[in-house]
Symmetry: C2
Subunit: 170 residues, 2 copies
């Protein structure tokens, strides 16, 4: 299935000079959304997967449906201060400043192998931080699942140790 | 299935005096998460439903899985400034100040009947705003789906016109 017709280019979002890839047309098309989730699930079928980590906020939309389909624990990774229980956190550099993602301390059991889900792989900053969070918690990254990869931003370079599954490439 | 063992009480979150109901143990238990999504889908089975609106951020986790299961369009309702395309918005009062939720203008087709999904019905402020957003866009609210209802906060009172489906009540 060709998913490109369901991705909308939005110029100058969130700031001037950036061409944003809007996935809402895909979300609003059940055949396309089902295709994405089913392809991701098929990619991991037969592998030892103990959980699905979904990155706030668009990663929640894909990760939740994938965890449901795969019948695996769904673990949210959230921005700082959003998770109510004891958390572990990792900070990472942005173009200007830094950001922090958190996971509940009891989100992962040591040795568990997890898939991390987000909508877009850009520079890989958030995804790299998510990988560190898993590894610091004693878990193993079994794979990174993305709707699309912006290959010209070279996010893959810093994540070369991991299996990266992306349905669309730009 | 008794879901109460999968809801964790967190005292004083997000501020002193509030007892927060943490749904992450439920998300991490595939049998419980599947049960919630399947019960919601069963509730709407046979009814005319044209889409599932998921409220950021925890509503994304439930709404995305429900849209996938029901094979219906998934439409995100987000906080101000997060959606990249043309939006419609509604503001609503909070205890202190106000908040705004937005939906893409092309999220709804006039006349379409939608289910709105969130994790918790508390005072009903956000859910009421979501209903207004749907109606102002020419859509119809076919139902409100929630994991739990905090009945002592009387959110149901202001939403009496709608079919409210909640799996847990406190």
């Amino acid at each position: 299935m060709d998913l490109q017709p369901y991705i909308r280019d939005i110029p100058d979002f969130p700031r001037p000079g950036v061409m944003f890839k809007d996935i809402t047309p895909l979300l609003q098309t059940p055949a396309a959304f089902s295709y994405v989730i089913d392809q991701m699930a098929a990619h991991y079928k037969g592998r030892a997967i103990d959980g699905v980590l979904a990155i706030e906020a668009r990663g929640f939309l894909l990760g939740a449906a994938l965890a449901y389909k795969m019948e695996k624990p769904l673990i949210p990774l959230r921005k700082r201060g959003k998770l109510p229980f004891h958390t572990v956190s990792v900070s990472y550099a942005l173009e200007y400043g830094s950001d922090t993602i958190e996971m509940h301390q009891d989100g992962l059991v040591a040795g568990h192998r997890v898939v991390i889900v987000d909508d877009v792989l850009a520079t890989g900053g958030t995804m790299g931080a998510a990988c560190r969070l898993v590894e610091q918690s004693g878990g193993k990254v079994a794979g990174l699942a993305l709707l699309m990869e912006l290959a010209f931003l070279n996010g893959r370079q810093s994540l070369a140790a991991h299996d990266i599954f992306a349905l669309l490439k730009y």
